[in-house]
């Protein structure tokens, strides 16, 4: 690839997205907001996979793993949002602090 862009640029971009996703997961009280943070983290992991696949000379292993990650992210989003909707039906809110029935 071109000119001044190397592996480290992609790794640092992925690092920034990961940190933002982590802040999202740690600070949100909205369950859907937490799931969005998880999606950001999975995307940053995928950028790492593809960057190493491109610059490391591996054949297609990195891309295959990226597709598996996307597949699992889809399954995770489906189950997560179904759980959020079930919580909403029971508690009439999706604030994760309000759903503390099990806390002692």
């Amino acid at each position: 690839m071109g000119g001044g862009i190397g592996l480290n640029h992609f790794l640092l971009l992925s690092l920034i997205i990961f940190s933002l996703g982590m802040v999202c997961v740690l600070t949100r009280r909205n369950a859907i907001g937490i799931l969005m943070g998880v999606e950001l983290i999975l995307n940053s992991a995928n950028i790492n996979y593809l960057a190493f696949a491109h610059y490391g000379g591996a054949k297609y292993d990195g891309q295959v793993f990226a597709i598996f990650v996307i597949m699992l992210a889809a399954a995770e989003a489906v189950i997560g949002l179904a759980v959020v909707l079930a919580i909403y039906q029971n508690f009439k809110t999706i604030d994760v602090d309000a759903t503390e029935t099990l806390s002692g």
Partner: protein
């Protein structure tokens, strides 16, 4: 030179949209900013010569997960109410944790001498990925279909109303 400009444009799009996702008070804005983040990541994938993965990302994330998220946001009432929709707690500790963890990882990235292969000319990847899926990775590929089936059935069971009485 052109690749550099494109990379930084995509990076700004992705990081800016992610910032809106993380720091917006309104969850609807967060959801729509997620579109920008996913599209920027699609561009990054194309820049990394992964054309098939970029298309899969476009179809699954933008066409599937994002639409599903918008549905979930719209199905939960009162979500547009800014004061309760997306409150965040403990922003300062979370930022400290993220900055410390990110700093350690950035230090590791900068210090490591990665083994870099000679750059190859980008070529279509679908042929190789198809061979990998039905060759070395055929067992994970088949298990993935079971995982998706389980997720499908599980989502239906979890989210439907019980009407047994």
């Amino acid at each position: 030179m052109l690749a550099t400009i494109i990379f930084y444009a995509l990076a700004i799009l992705t990081v800016g949209s992610s910032c809106i996702v993380v720091f917006s008070r309104n969850v609807v804005y967060s959801t729509f900013a997620l579109l920008g983040a996913f599209m920027g990541v699609v561009g990054i994938y194309v820049l990394l010569a992964a054309d098939f993965v970029a298309m899969v990302q476009l179809l699954v994330y933008v066409g599937g997960i994002l639409v599903l998220t918008i549905f979930a946001v719209m199905l939960t009432q009162g979500i547009a109410d800014v004061t309760i929709s997306n409150r965040s707690v403990g922003l300062i500790p979370a930022l400290v944790i993220a900055v410390v963890a990110g700093g350690v990882m950035a230090f590791a990235v900068e210090r490591t001498h990665w083994h870099l292969a000679a750059s190859v000319t980008p070529s279509p990847t679908t042929y190789g990925i198809g061979n990998a899926f039905l060759g070395d990775y055929v067992l994970p590929f088949e298990i993935a279909s079971l995982v998706l089936l389980a997720a499908l059935i599980g989502a239906i069971v979890i989210s439907r109303h019980e009407a047994r009485e």
